[in-house]
Amino acid sequence: MRQGLVRALGGAAILALVVGAAGCNSGSDNDGGGGSSGGGKNCGYKIAFMGALTGSAANLGINIEQGYELAIKQYNEKNGADCIQVAKFDTQGDPAVAPGVARQAVSDPKVIGVVGLPFSGESEAAGPILNDAKIPNISPAATNPTLSTHGWTYFHRAVATDKNQGPAAAAYIQDVLKPQKVFVADDQSAYGSGLAEAVKAKLGPMVVATDKTSADGKQTDFSAIVQKIISSGATVFFYGGYYTNAGLIRKQLTAAGWKGTMVGGDGVKDPGFAKAAGNAAAAGTVVTCPCAPASEAGGTFVADYKQTWNQDAGTYSDVAYDATNIFLKGIDEGNTTPEKMNEFLKTVEYTGVANTYKFTDTGELDPQYLKVWAFKFDASGVDQPVQQIKLTS
């Protein structure tokens, strides 16, 4: 009798799990079924977002997702509710999770474009899957230069690469901070180590020592690297990585009495850095970004974003907004299959709120539109623009 009961309960539990999982899956990529509620326009398609919505660098992914969703919301206001559907996929910023998520996204026939992936490591991992499925994708944030060297015809990038950002950061260090000694470290991620190498190459003999940390979110005690930085006598510390690790290192550096300046890349450009370090320690930290300040964004973007999400636009929110709008423009002009959309991306020249976009034949942004800015954290934990850095490469 007991055995029978246990078996019945177990069977019911398994059934519930299966039904729940099936329900969950269909929920995430079939919101509302075949949406033909649009008014005669090209409706019923999806543009997917793939990126970190949870995890230690989630803020960066969420900023982009909110820019993307704002663009779709505004489009649906003009063209009918649910005309274009939102389809968000969480990769946790992890290259190990990204491929599975990418397969899920491309299996939906309604998806004709992807805004993502924000991080270089996950872009590297999911790129082949998106390319094989022939889904055009625009990354609003991945900066590793090697992404466009794989011959992915469906890959596009809306920002400058670390080939621009790295030397720009180094130039800022040399021309503005003018230290004698620099310490460079990275978190061994595709993005972090790529950027750190680019900076090291440009700074040359100014770099007195280097080190590596664990991946973002995997380490909290940085006393060894702090010790190394202090004993190296460096007055500038460049870190290739994301804001959580960077913030913790900055905090522990300040606690150990180091008075130098920390410099980071776009992965550190987030209020999460000041949250991890404490506003007092974070103040004065310089970060570069192949993006213009959100305040420079044209139109009503800044106000619209604030009104929709009740927070200020973050890093790359404006670029994601533009990338999504490029897809939407393509849909407007009748490019409603992934093939036609990719052809459209080859020739489009679109002026959005953050920049004008035109893609080269490898998917990179046309060199005339590349830009890198320097920002500095102020005493209240917000990164303020300092200047645009002239690109020499």
Partner: protein, 316 residues
């Protein structure tokens, strides 16, 4: 291999390593006590530590202190630190007791095989860390700057900070206190008796359940204190903060001789020192590699750990 780095920084690395080692030692006590008495590896102990750290932060939060507050005056700081330590120790102790009551006691009643204990321990660890993770959105939480690091004294190029001295002193005090407790009091004798032979101890009139709860409580209290020290040293905590520290602390317990209280201290200090030396020598990303290589080497030559003897044997 950066020998010059190691040689040049030997002093600061040693000071930092001793402080880190003291935290590991306090943390390792929980593992070693529970193993000595129950022959059980209490994986949930790392979450007991993490919960204690959050308890201290929430308490300070009630007073309006967060990572961006200004440092209060010294008299208030002493009050806050003492309060934080007491609350963290209490909450950690209670958490440890609850884990014992809910996860392990039912298994003991049913004479479950050791594997069941192991799996339950891992399960309890995951339940607590994931619950806290969901509640905190997996964000980290900063520590109010209560203790401003200042150099207490300088030897050569080594600046020994007030925080490092506080951690080491506190650990020494707790260790001496615990040693006295185990060796000189009636309750301590009960613990040693149950560690030697639970059934014989029961025959001699020792309340087994009470002793086991006491052991969990003591481990929890130590972990809570270690958690507050950790907060001051590292400056943040997160739902998974217990995990990597737990691995290092468990390694320290094994290294010193699992079941041996003094061994936990020796193990903790060795791990703390070698982590730092290893990072200087090979690079920070080799930290954990160095820790485990040290463990393997020592176990190869002395399988029962450095101090070897268990809790119940002749000397604790």
């Amino acid at each position: 291999m950066h020998f010059d780095d190691l040689a040049h920084n030997w002093g600061p690395l040693t000071a930092s390593g001793l402080a880190q080692g003291a935290i590991y030692a306090l943390f390792a006590l929980g593992y070693t006590l529970v193993y000595g008495v129950l022959r059980l590896i209490n994986f949930a102990h790392s979450e007991v530590f993490m919960v204690g750290s959050y308890a201290a932060l929430i308490t300070w939060g009630f007073f309006g202190l967060d990572e961006n507050s200004a440092t209060p005056p010294t008299t208030e700081v002493i009050g806050y630190v003492v309060l934080g330590v007491l609350v963290a120790a209490a909450i950690s102790g209670i958490t440890a007791l609850v884990v014992e009551l809910v996860a392990y006691r039912p298994l003991r009643r049913h004479n479950a095989p050791p594997l069941a204990f192991l799996i339950t321990a891992i399960g309890a660890s995951l339940v607590i860390s994931e619950a806290v993770g969901v509640a905190t959105h997996r964000n980290q939480r900063g520590v109010p700057p209560l203790i401003q690091p200042a150099d207490a004294f300088t030897i050569g190029n080594t600046h020994v900070t007030n925080l490092e001295i506080l951690i080491i002193l506190l650990t020494l005090v707790m260790m001496v206190g615990l040693d006295r407790f185990i060796n000189r009091t009636r309750l301590g004798r009960g613990i040693r008796a149950v560690a030697q032979s639970p059934d014989t101890a029961a025959l001699m009139g020792v309340n087994k359940d009470r002793v086991i709860s006491l052991v969990f409580l003591i481990g929890g209290l130590m972990a809570g204190i270690a958690a507050v020290m950790y907060l001051f040293k590292i400056g943040t905590t997160r739902y998974d903060a217990g995990f990597s520290l737990g691995i290092a602390a468990f390694t320290a317990a094994v290294l010193g001789g699992i079941g041996n209280l003094r061994g936990a201290v020796v193990g903790g200090i060795i791990i703390g020192l070698f982590e730092n030396y290893g990072s200087a020598l090979f690079g920070s990303n080799y930290r954990n590699v160095v820790t485990f290589v040290v463990l393997i080497v020592i176990l190869m030559f002395r399988p029962s750990g450095i101090l070897g003897e268990a809790l119940g044997r002749a000397r604790a």
